[in-house]
Subunit: 137 residues, 2 copies
């Protein structure tokens, strides 16, 4: 009986290690997911990877890259909302229409992620679009 429990334990340990290796080998996940999360949570990056490996099965570990692409776009969009004050200007005060805010957010995210502009420059483009809209008579 003890032997079976030991084998079981060994199996879980091994599978965890394998999942961690799958995740670690993915440079994109490392740079765009695990390192930023480790900074936000002030956790060692290996601990972050272990948390993911424990919560996900093998298939999900391989699928994580696709989710991460979506998450990167989505979460960056929310950061743009905060950094440009769009949350205030559009959602709460209605000084900028929702469709316009969506367009500005999209432009900034694309500039940075697709056209590789530094985030500050992409943000500056968004800022100029906002100023133009706000100063329209």
């Amino acid at each position: 009986m003890t032997e079976i429990v030991d084998i079981d334990k060994k199996y879980i340990e091994n599978s965890l290690k394998q999942k961690m290796n799958v995740l670690k080998d993915n440079r994109f996940l490392m740079d765009e997911v695990f390192i930023p999360i480790s900074k936000a949570l002030k956790l060692d990056v290996d601990e972050v990877i272990e948390i993911f490996a424990k919560k996900l099965d093998f298939a999900s570990c391989y699928e994580l890259h696709a989710y991460a692409e979506q998450a990167r776009m989505g979460c960056l969009g929310r950061k743009v909302d905060i950094d440009l004050g769009l949350c205030w200007l559009s959602d709460f005060f209605g000084l900028i229409k929702k469709e316009e805010a969506d367009l500005i957010r999209k432009k900034v995210v694309e500039s940075h992620l697709l056209y590789k502009k530094p985030y500050k420059e992409a943000l500056e483009e968004g800022r100029q679009m906002i100023l133009k809209l706000l100063k329209e008579e």
Copy 2:
């Protein structure tokens, strides 16, 4: 005819000035809305106030305080999502349940806005809650 146009212009100018005074006199709006927006948009704070005054009628200028209270809660919640990585952990990777993320966000926002804890301290409380959830076996 020129006279009527002049009177009209004068009236609009005066009403703009009055609206700007209403907005400027409100310390809360100044600290929580106009100054943060002026920083985000790199605009002079008077320009920000003028934009609001031009877009809003008198009634809306007086109502702005109530909207601003809501906006402050709402927009801070979104900042918490970014700063704690909840956007990634909950919305996209599902490592933290939506209801748990809502609770953490609410706790941090309340700690800071209602109980006046410095934002960093409030954030730290949220971080601890996240770590506890993530490390649960």
